[in-house]
Symmetry: D2
Subunit: 188 residues, 4 copies
Amino acid sequence: MRLLAFAASLRADSWNRRLIALAASAAGAGAEVELVEFHAFDVPLFDGDLLSALGIPAGAQEFARLISAADGMLVASPEYNFSLPGTLKNLIDWVSRARPVPLRGKTAMLLSASTGQVGGIRGLWQLRIPLEGLGMIVSPDMYTLPWADKAFADDGTLKEPERQTRLEGMVAGFVTLTGKLSSRALES
Amino acid sequence: MRLLAFAASLRADSWNRRLIALAASAAGAGAEVELVEFHAFDVPLFDGDLLSALGIPAGAQEFARLISAADGMLVASPEYNFSLPGTLKNLIDWVSRARPVPLRGKTAMLLSASTGQVGGIRGLWQLRIPLEGLGMIVSPDMYTLPWADKAFADDGTLKEPERQTRLEGMVAGFVTLTGKLSSRALES
Amino acid sequence: MRLLAFAASLRADSWNRRLIALAASAAGAGAEVELVEFHAFDVPLFDGDLLSALGIPAGAQEFARLISAADGMLVASPEYNFSLPGTLKNLIDWVSRARPVPLRGKTAMLLSASTGQVGGIRGLWQLRIPLEGLGMIVSPDMYTLPWADKAFADDGTLKEPERQTRLEGMVAGFVTLTGKLSSRALES
Amino acid sequence: MRLLAFAASLRADSWNRRLIALAASAAGAGAEVELVEFHAFDVPLFDGDLLSALGIPAGAQEFARLISAADGMLVASPEYNFSLPGTLKNLIDWVSRARPVPLRGKTAMLLSASTGQVGGIRGLWQLRIPLEGLGMIVSPDMYTLPWADKAFADDGTLKEPERQTRLEGMVAGFVTLTGKLSSRALES
């Protein structure tokens, strides 16, 4: 089974980047994980005229290629203004124009780290909408990490064993879910 | 009273652009309306490192300046993937970093045109969230125009008198709402 | 594989009741379907004191029993006031107090009939939230039937062959999805 | 100015009941507040046949009467399963059938107390939808009280002065908002 993993943040020192690294590592026990930088998916602002003139931009094609080759994806996304980041939505808007829509039938697990107490959960609920609208099976289990600036140990794991165990369990559950749904997995 | 108006679409031949022109015209009876191109608010993809290094980009500063000088805004926004456009959310994400947040206390009326039968209403419900989260008073009345490709007469008004009348009435109601809330209006 | 099916409407002459009958019939090709009346799940208004004093009421226990014995459920739900029916949410609120939560790990497919043009889709998006929050795998494909009062033929099927075919295809896809996820199915 | 206030909880010992009492008291400085028990709005489960046969039930008529006589309302609502309580939605579903819809044009301020860390904010975002859909002006400012079981002093105020001050400020802002919008207030 193959999983794509990325943090939907362009900031070099992003808590979501640390969180996705940890989730990717946990998934590595049961899947081949491709962890990529969000910059790999850099695209212009969505513009229908640009689409007509030049087609789908390289960053969105790269996303389409990677998700097509995978069974599912892990996304750690910050919450911006009670919703998903505009950057991530803009990427989805471009990718949604590829045919067939490469997200359809793939699984997704959503995570969020924040330095506040709510942990980014509101943004993840808004992120579900375009993903599900495009045909993804989004895991009902979503992992949120509040107080992220105090959460990580030097080795990149979570200081509180309970949080680390919960993350590993949730990721393992997602790998199992994806395995059941993946025709690729069933064939092998 | 002053209102900012724009369509959240970069496409030259956008139905939402026609719709906002019509709404701006209707609002012109009771307010001074500044109708601007969405390109005036062009910004890079949101990146916390860019914000730290260079501050808020020019396009978002322009939006901040215009909404600060206004009592409210009219926005015609397409629906992309059952949610708001990533481009518009990306702009909001930049503008939300200005202090004080220039959207706070202003009013907004949301409109959407689409060539389908649902008229973009799902996108508008998702657009409410960041705007309200940032302190705007968003009118409960939202105008959606289904089958937009068949809706406009040559003079830019709506062919069906009922739709035209409903738009004018809703915009007039929004102007009244904004007038009640605006300290500017009360002073004059 | 077993599926529970019901319409979330108490009205005798409900369009959603007709729609669920049709969906249940379509599912019957690949699953054992238990189609029940919403009245079977009659419960009082949720009240924490009532819960403490008398436990979970009979209607919610019946729902818990049926979904526990099933692999997934088909629900046809009207849209009330841009959201899910209070009656259905009230039932979910009661059922959510059972331990273990009987919805967890089960699949759901959501449908909606309405006499308007939007077909109830806004209500279904709001219905996803508590179901997913409680751990259900809700199919990304949702079936909405606009203009329901003109949609049904005398034999209970949909007059427009395209709509009928789309319903059958979506239900078949859901049966396949449920089959992949169901341990019950894998065992047999 | 008159405000209706209630907690959307039937439980006698409800944290939301304490919170609404505090909010009503704060509002009392600038408005006449009618604080009522949620039991005053007891209604059966919504049923279109019941509506046809018997009309709108007494509890919903009482709600309609009180909100019609008021300029706005304060509602403290628990979060149930990541959404609004079914009980409250069921009441709204009944009230929405009254003509004219008595909620239209009134203001609302939403509050939520919870014993967890998220404070009920997800439920309030879902509660906004039917209220705004029915034409209410819902304040963008929502008050959430996390860890409610440790929050109240013996005199019913909040132990942490910062929380108490924030509540009072937000309620005062809502009274001002309602005053600007209320024709009643402007007349007097």
